[in-house]
């Protein structure tokens, strides 16, 4: 009793009260749902009857779904293409921009502009740009140089690259600014030293700039992979998984299980599988790259 009074007098209670918003919000909307996800993946939940334990049934159902491997393949394809388009471009832009003596603000603002456009607006706009007819926006532009018309998102083979192109447009600016911030941290004396050794421009970039950035490069790589594995808005609004399921991603599957078919157990099981995969992948990645990232 005395201890409690002392605790209250010493400010313990007011501290706890101040922490209450964080505890409540995280408790309800982060910690509890995370725990619940694990439980739910082993349960049959339909909101009508009480949840029932079904062991590994949800996982079996998800893995046996003919669309499962399609969605995994598509997601890997999206991630691969996103890295191919979206990883080198911002780096080149940032390196060129870091050498600017004037107008860096203008370049940065231009690069970042697409990032502030709401994704839904961007996707719907690009969906119109991708009009497959002769008079589609992109087809008109490419027609000037005698290319096309292309079918963009109408055809299974070009649908995914089209989505990735849009996603890269929308996100590259954020990566450019991260690299730009990292580039200001590269020590000038290392360039001095390289010049003393007679290094030219390319060798300075290769032997000084890139090694100095490797910590940031390694982290943005894995974060980008984790983010692209959870891609949803683009395939949902641009193609809704089509044509011929060519753009069904894992997250689209999760969404369909839960919010189209009301199968919350299967949706959660697939989410948990995805999270486990990402966790294992990140662990392996950091173990493999540990020796490079010691800076």
């Amino acid at each position: 009793m005395n201890a409690t009074i002392r605790w209250v007098r010493g400010g313990g209670l007011s501290t706890l009260l101040l922490l209450l918003p964080l505890l409540l919000v995280f408790g309800y909307f982060a910690w509890f749902p995370i725990g619940r996800a694990v439980v739910m993946s082993f349960q049959e939940t339909n909101l009508v009857t009480d949840p029932a334990w079904v062991g590994l049934d949800n996982f079996r159902q998800v893995l046996e779904d003919p669309l499962f491997w399609t969605s995994v393949r598509n997601t890997l394809y999206f991630t691969g293409l996103a890295l191919l388009f979206g990883y080198p471009v911002p780096l080149v832009l940032a390196v060129v921009m870091s050498e600017l003596r004037r107008g860096k603000g203008l370049y940065s603002a231009l690069a970042y502009l697409p990032v502030v456009v709401p994704p839904v607006v961007a996707v719907l706009l690009w969906r119109f740009f991708y009009d497959a007819s002769q008079t589609g926006v992109f087809n008109t532009i490419l027609g000037w140089v005698g290319l096309g018309p292309f079918s963009w998102i109408q055809e299974a083979s070009s649908a995914m690259p089209s989505l990735v192109l849009q996603a890269t447009w929308a996100n590259a600016g954020a990566t450019v600014l991260i690299y730009l911030a990292a580039l200001t941290g590269v020590r000038g004396d290392l360039y001095d030293a390289a010049e003393v050794d007679g290094a030219g421009l390319w060798r300075k970039v290769w032997h000084v700039t890139l090694p100095q950035l490797r910590g940031v490069l390694l982290i943005t790589l894995i974060l980008q992979v984790i983010a692209t594995f959870q891609v949803f808005t683009e395939p949902y609004l641009m193609t809704n998984g089509g044509p011929q399921n060519a753009t069904v991603t894992v997250l689209l599957q999760i969404y369909n299980y839960a919010f189209r078919f009301g199968d919350y157990g299967a949706a959660t099981a697939l989410s948990v599988l995805l999270a486990l995969f990402l966790a294992v992948m990140s662990a392996v990645y950091f173990r493999l790259t540990r020796s490079w990232s010691t800076t």
Binding site: G11, L22, T140, A181, A275
Partner: protein, 326 residues
């Protein structure tokens, strides 16, 4: 799993930690690079005509590329939203072949009820901003300044959520919102369903906490000597000193709420409550193309204006914010 978390934490920590400056020095202007700091090219390199021109050409090309890629689609939309549907479909890349049609914007705003959904979006964004700021400032303050004995445990629990991909909690979070444990209330079709979960943003809390960790502690002692209680100290001492970081958190909180699509779509099935991002895909089939494009323009206008006004804050925040947000 715990091993994973530890690894990631270790590698990730330096990234957000480094760029947050102590409050005293003003953030460096992004103006012309001053002498003393050098880039890849030395003064000697800049002196050589070949290198200088090569670099200028490269930079000019990048500027053109950025302008076309970033501004192009936005300017195209601005033009299309004041053109007739006919023009946009037949000759999408021509300037106004049959004149300017300003009526699209007012049709979209009034008839297509974009004004209504715009107001909804403002509500969603303002509420999310407030909850995020409340949680991050009070939480960051307790964890960084008051530091009760259990603070490290709470910090670790908050940090842990940073490494759980958002997708895992999507469905359980929805079920939680449908029936909040203990209080047994449903938040479905209320803005609380968007506002409150937005507050559970570990990144904000850690950013604010790390900033407050860097504030000089003797100021608190002085305030305490003057008889300031914890709340008073937060309001009159810590918050004024934390303005730079609160600005960054605010701007991203508001913008991310404006951009959010999946979560509002799930928890706000009632059409009259929906924000623009949820509504736009649905009105696409019900209005004419020129009006729809005008609606798209209106939906991106506010974020762009905010970006242009607070550019400095955005560009400073993006270096540390974008990375971990993913």
């Amino acid at each position: 799993m715990s091993d994973t978390v530890k690894d990631e934490v270790r590698v990730t920590t330096p990234a957000p930690a480094a760029p947050v400056p102590a409050p005293a020095p003003r953030p460096r202007r992004r103006g012309p690079d001053t002498a003393g700091e050098r880039g890849i090219l030395s003064e000697f390199d800049w002196g050589r005509a070949g290198t200088r021109w090569g670099m200028r050409v490269a930079q000019g090309l990048v500027l053109v590329l950025l302008a076309v890629a970033s501004l192009g689609p936005i300017l195209w939309l601005a033009r299309a939203s004041v053109s007739t549907t006919q023009d946009t479909l037949r000759t999408p890349m021509a300037f106004w072949p049959s004149g300017i049609d300003w009526a699209n914007l007012s049709t979209a705003w009034n008839q297509a009820q974009i004004s209504h959904y715009f107001t909804n979006t403002v509500w969603v964004a303002l509420g999310s901003w407030f909850v995020q700021l409340l949680v991050a400032t009070t939480g960051g303050y307790v964890l960084a300044v008051l530091r009760p004995r259990y603070a490290p445990v709470v910090t670790a629990a908050v940090l842990a959520t940073l490494f759980i991909p958002g997708v895992v909690v999507l469905v359980p979070l929805f079920l939680t919102v449908l029936d909040l444990p203990v209080v047994n209330a449903s938040l479905l079709n209320t803005y609380w369903a968007v506002w409150l979960p937005a507050g559970a943003n570990a990144f904000n809390v850690l950013l604010v906490k790390r900033f407050m960790d860097g504030l000089p502690r003797d100021v608190y002692e002085a305030a305490r000597m003057d008889g300031a209680g914890p709340l008073r100290m937060l309001w009159s001492v810590v918050l004024p000193m934390s303005k730079p970081i609160l600005g960054v958190v605010s701007i991203f909180a508001f913008l991310n709420a404006w951009k959010d699509f999946l979560w509002p779509q799930i928890v706000l099935p009632e059409p009259t409550l929906q924000p623009l991002s949820v509504r736009l895909p649905l009105i696409r089939d019900t209005v004419e193309l020129d009006v729809f494009l005008a609606a798209l323009l209106i939906s991106m206008a506010l974020p762009i204006v905010i970006f242009l006004v607070f550019q400095r804050l955005f560009l400073r925040g993006a270096g540390l914010g974008g990375a971990v947000k993913g």
